[in-house]
């Protein structure tokens, strides 16, 4: 079993499948009267969040508490102005407090990897800069599998600002490992120049959303920051929505069984319209619930045994 979860690429097919299967078992806990399992009793999980993200933090907090772990939230809303503590000193502090696992979200890519050098416990990457967000990819895969029954052979379109998307990177790596075929769609300015070679061979790129929609099983819409406009990645929000937004008519060109996913939070009216977000194809709400089960599975598989 692995010690840290820093990238979608850390997981081979068997390990990833074991996490998804374990998550399925963990999901049954949610239906119980007593939503508790003793597996991590006495373990300490620290949520170290340098970016405010209640959605991800409460998901990890719920997961850890359901497994009876002690949770310490450490939201370091520091700013470049305050001369605060370095990442290394924060890590040594957590180490001194006996943290068994550190769940870290940080605006700088690679921060979790540096942290892993300074703590003995396990490090879980909850989103680092524009690099990766592996538990998001796992809950996405879990959602696809539970909705469509399989992952191998699935055709998945990931649409939007791939260049800055840690969710896209983790998904490309994990889905390819699990045998799905990924097509990246978006304006050329928001697709990295050599994404296939860099991440996963066999990844396709398309600049035309309408040509891709009819033959995919999953379309994952990525959040697009409006501020990107000021950096002229695209001329205007309206043009972006017109060419790459998922609206009703486009949704109806999807195959009957196809599902629509979004990591949230959504820009309704930008990359996705309310009609699509609230349709029965949309898995946006269940992605959140699945997130807790998947994170329970990850924490259990990292901390449950003596994999020191």
């Amino acid at each position: 079993m692995i010690k840290h979860l820093l990238s979608g690429g850390d997981l081979d097919a068997d390990t990833a499948t074991e996490i998804l299967d374990t998550a399925a078992e963990m999901a049954t806990v949610a239906g119980r009267e007593i939503k508790k399992l003793p597996a991590l009793r006495g373990r300490t999980v620290v949520n170290l969040f340098y970016e405010d993200s209640t959605r991800t933090r409460i998901s990890f907090e719920a997961a850890a508490k359901r497994l009876s772990a002690d949770v310490i939230n450490f939201s370091a809303k520091g700013s470049s102005v305050t001369k605060g503590e370095s990442l290394k000193d924060t890590a040594l502090t957590l180490q001194a407090m006996g943290a068994d696992a550190v769940v870290v979200r940080h605006p700088a890519s690679g921060a979790p990897h540096r942290l892993a050098n300074w703590v003995d416990g396990s490090v879980v990457n909850a989103g680092d800069g524009t690099h990766e967000h592996p538990t998001q990819a796992l809950l996405d895969a879990y959602t696809m599998r539970s909705r469509l029954g399989r992952l191998a052979g699935l055709s998945v379109a990931v649409v939007g600002d791939v260049l800055h998307s840690r969710v896209a990177r983790s998904n490309v790596l994990l889905l390819t490992t699990l045998g799905a075929k990924v097509t990246l769609v978006g304006p050329p300015t928001l697709i990295p120049v050599d994404i296939a070679g860099a991440l996963a061979p066999g990844t396709d790129v398309s600049y035309d959303l309408d040509s891709v929609l009819p033959n995919v099983d999953v379309v994952m819409m990525l959040r697009v920051q409006r501020e990107r406009m000021n950096d002229s990645y695209f001329p205007s929000a309206r043009e972006y929505a017109r060419r790459y937004g998922l609206d009703g008519p486009r949704m109806r060109r999807l195959p009957e069984h196809a599902i629509v996913m979004h990591p949230g939070p959504m820009n309704r009216g930008m990359e996705i319209t309310p009609e699509v977000a609230d349709s029965r194809r949309s898995t946006i709400v269940e992605q959140v619930t699945n997130g807790v089960s998947v994170r329970m599975a990850v924490l259990y598989l990292l901390l449950g045994g003596n994999n020191r």
Partner: protein, 199 residues
């Protein structure tokens, strides 16, 4: 000054020979030399090269003596086989005036380990907006000949042209840090750190 006799050394890869150093110069080069007053250095299997010269070094002094000083940098250079190094201008204060370049030059002489030739900034404060007093630095005791905003690119084409032209008067050279800043701008990634006292 002590004399030194380096025996059976290969000068720049040539056949091994003896090399006598006396009064600051190479006195003799040839086989079977003898110099009773000289300290002998066994050069068997070794290669003698002209002292290395580094066109591009950061000695950090003045300003960041915690990272390096002219003396510690000079010592590292000597241990690397250097006898002269050119010190870049991105110190604090920036070496964009005769005063600072002379300070660096003097620190080099005091250290006495390698010749330290200061490089003058092309623009004031390395900001890429106004030419620094290149003439004053050229005429200073440091006799600056190379000018560079290294660490930053002289991005404005007109200013770069002016700089290239202006230094022709004293046979100067502009050393460009080639990086179009508009293509390498990183988005303002604010350096987040946990606020003090919240650890």
């Amino acid at each position: 000054m002590t004399a030194y006799l380096i025996t059976s050394v290969s000068v720049v890869g040539a056949a091994p020979t003896d090399l006598l150093i006396r009064d600051g110069v190479v006195a003799e080069v040839g086989p079977g030399l003898s110099a009773p007053d000289a300290t002998v250095v066994d050069g068997a299997g070794l290669v003698a090269l002209p002292g290395l010269v580094d066109l591009h070094t950061h000695l950090r002094e003045p300003g960041r003596e915690d990272a390096e000083t002219v003396e510690s940098g000079s010592r590292a250079a000597a241990l690397g086989g250097y006898t002269a190094v050119c010190a870049m201008a991105n110190t604090s204060p920036v070496a964009d005036t005769a005063g600072v370049v002379e300070q660096v030059w003097r620190l080099g002489r005091e250290a006495g380990l390698v010749d330290v030739q200061p490089i003058g900034a092309v623009t004031v404060g390395l900001a890429g907006e106004r030419l620094a007093e290149l003439g004053a630095m050229a005429d200073s005791a440091a006799r600056v000949r190379i000018f560079s905003d290294d660490g930053h690119c002289v991005a404005d084409p007109k200013l770069m042209r002016r700089a290239l032209e202006y230094v022709k008067a004293f046979d100067g050279i502009i050393a460009q840090h080639a990086e179009e800043p508009r293509l390498t701008e990183a988005p303002r990634c604010t350096r987040v750190r946990s606020p003090p006292g919240s650890a």
